[in-house]
Subunit: 455 residues, 2 copies
């Protein structure tokens, strides 16, 4: 061990957080309210409760409580796989010959393979407490569906998953995994919903999108008794649950008096990034630190770097309330050549607000670049990360290389959100040179934005 | 937390073992020597060094040193993923309503997904120290090849993997994973070796076997400069490296004054089982405990329950020295319906000797039974284990159910050797009811044993 800091900084189970941190309550300005698209007026909680669980609605709108208690049963599940380690990437530092210190918070050691389990467990727990018997959801790359199936398997609820058809066909084993936990999985768009049938009619042969799958899952939740729709990113209550990542990371680094100079995460719907930065950003918003926060998104779906801060639907079918967020327009169709997740047109409202108000930076990377970085990481650190995580680690490597040039001893913390076990076809295409990049043209972006509703 | 014992008993990095335990040195009687099949005489170390690394040969034949130091560079790699946790399966206990305490040592949290990394790292380290530039190996289910590719990627050696053709075709992503780490992967039997061409001629259309793949890898190692053959199980030096599992498990349980009443592991080549039991068995051989040791093998490849303790070749091509072990005969062809590993005709010599001398018990399970157990485990403990590990956890569950009936508060420790992420087709066949069982007939067994060499 090069010095006092171990390779893995572990917390004990007694150090598992007892509260989530509600970043929303730290914002200097309140978030703009969700709007009812028909009336243009703020949505009432009662309307939301038809789709979402009571607890989700309450947490979504909670702008005052800075800390929210993690229920005992949720903490007991967390104990099976948390606290997760903060790893000092000594071997990567050596390979890069950098004076920087690189740390990553690793969320890929549980069976779901990603951070998504942090939110699926409380969401299903609350659903059961509410007396619900089934839940629906959508999944793209499959991480969220897997995590949710583990939670419904554990708490004994039925689960119906609409899986984006392209992923369903490319990753059959994701379906097998969810089915092992008792879930039913349907490729989307499907003929099981009105919205699905409409999309199939308008776009025959479509591979689907996250936005379509959300519409289908929401339709079913609205039409069934004792059923609600759960989702794995974008919304504020999901980011709340993911704050467990940042709280643990900070507690681990604090043990060694380490304050990162920069915190880096990948951006899909924003919940992992928001969760990772939560405690540090809360301090920053109180003027207690000057940490740089860097979000990394794919150049093929550049929500924060090229999108607009505007009211938009969360789904393609235009069934959700309007949310003020960075968006490429719910009509934006991400290029199918893009591997992995991070393909969503919108962004979590808190993250959007932070970006809009200048509290964070964003960068967009092409996928071949992030897979190059992943190869360096694989060989030096053993871990094989998910394509999403590769975006964050690529930025961390770029920072560390800059430090080599300037001599700065920056402390870099990034989020390694999951394992790449289920993404080997992406690695295969990178290995054999068939992976391509795609940057939407200005026309593509304008076309997407033209789908924005008039508010 | 139901009582004082946490869900996960973690060791700190400073508690990572500094020495492997050499179980061979504790045996009351020395192991019978390996024999040269041509002469019937004990094999000289010099002959073995043509195939194996110098360190492997030295460790293989070391009957005196009870502890062997783990090199610093190996410990530094271990630190990236070890110590691995001992998990108390509280939620499984609750589901089974058993007074037993169930603990499992979990080796599935690293990217290779299994315990195999524990031996690939030192083997490649020693190969590099010896000045070798490339190594060869075989892999069946793919765990060993993956683990070895991580180690060669890290230490900078070339790697050529012969992968059993059936697995190569069923699990293309295993190949992608190994290639990501820089390995070259060839389906076996192949036309790249003499033995491969012979097997292809004699058995056109064969799906291959571990025994064939070993023959091919050995042939290449013998024919290349600065190249040796490494293998992931069966031999004593592999079991030595795997003792890190048992040493950590014992150190963790000792912290809470827990001595297991029974230690359970699955049996393929024997190294994971031998490594898990090592420190407890060493005590047992000194009369210091009375722990029961239970090995679990698949009924479709019942090496210890229906094989013979005899001299046999380690490979189908009859290129290795003769080893005294339990064996079904190198001509035994395991049924292709069997999922996962544990398909080898032979067994580690130390484990064979312990079985022969009455120090351990063995049981054989059919695969549908162990997958049923896995489903119970998945839903209660989150983890999705590898098919191999399911054998051990099935026996642990059976023990715990017996305790429910007798009221005994047995402490059960089993080895959960890896994740099932790459075995979803097996879970799929179990989920959809197409998984079948196969028990070799007495004629099958006799046919295999008829291939035993006359010594």
């Amino acid at each position: 061990m090069p010095n006092n800091i171990p390779y893995k900084i572990n917390l004990s189970e007694s150090e598992l957080p007892k509260f989530w941190l509600n970043l929303q309550a730290y914002l200097p300005e309140k978030l703009p309210p969700m709007l009812n698209p028909a009336t243009g007026q703020p949505v009432e909680a009662d309307e939301l409760r038809k789709v979402f669980t009571d607890a989700a609605v309450e947490q979504e709108m909670n702008t005052t409580d800075k800390y929210i208690e993690i229920p005992d049963e949720v903490r007991n599940f967390y104990r099976m796989y948390r606290p997760s380690p903060v790893v000092r990437a000594y071997n990567l530092e050596k390979l890069l010959d950098t004076p920087a210190e690189i740390y990553y918070k690793f969320e890929g050691t549980n069976t779901s393979g990603s951070h998504k389990l942090n939110s699926s467990v409380p969401q299903v727990y609350y659903a059961r407490e509410q007396g619900l018997t089934s839940v629906t959801t959508e999944t793209g790359a499959g991480q969220w569906g897997t995590a949710l199936s583990m939670a419904t398997g554990f708490f004994g609820l039925d689960l119906l998953v609409y899986m984006v058809k392209t992923s369903y066909e490319q990753k059959p084993h994701r379906k097998d995994l969810m089915e092992t936990y008792g879930a039913q999985v349907i490729p989307s768009p499907s003929d099981t919903t009105e919205v699905g049938r409409r999309i199939l009619k308008d776009h025959p042969g479509t591979g689907g999108s996250l936005g379509c799958a959300i519409s289908e899952a929401v339709e079913i939740a609205l039409s069934r008794e004792n059923c609600r729709y759960l989702l794995g990113s974008v919304m504020n209550h999901v980011l709340l649950h993911q704050s467990v990542i940042g709280l643990e990371a900070k507690a681990a680094l604090d043990k060694y008096n380490i304050t990162p100079d920069i915190v880096i995460g990948c951006l899909g719907g924003g919940s992992n990034f928001g969760g990772l930065i939560a405690p540090y950003m809360a301090e920053r918003l109180q003027g207690k630190n000057n940490i740089q926060f860097l979000g990394v998104e794919p150049a093929s779906c550049p929500t924060l770097t090229r999108g607009r801060y505007a009211y938009d639907f969360g789904d393609t079918g235009c069934m959700t309330p309007l949310i003020k967020m960075y968006t490429l327009g719910s009509g934006f169709m991400p290029s199918p050549n893009h591997a992995g997740g991070l393909r969503y047109h919108g962004m979590n409202p808190i993250v959007s607000k932070l970006k809009h108000d200048g509290y964070m930076d964003v960068i967009a990377y092409e996928q071949t670049k992030v897979f190059q970085a992943a190869k360096l990481f694989c060989k030096s650190e053993g871990n094989l990360p998910a394509p999403e995580s590769n975006h964050a680690l690529c930025a961390a490597i770029d920072e560390a290389i800059k430090c080599r040039e300037t001599g700065e001893k920056k402390k870099i913390l990034f989020g390694l959100t999951g394992t790449g076990f289920f993404d080997m076809s992406a690695y295969q295409s990178f290995n054999n040179g068939t992976m391509t990049d795609y940057i939407p043209t200005d026309e593509d972006i304008e076309l997407g934005l033209s789908s924005l509703p008039k508010v």
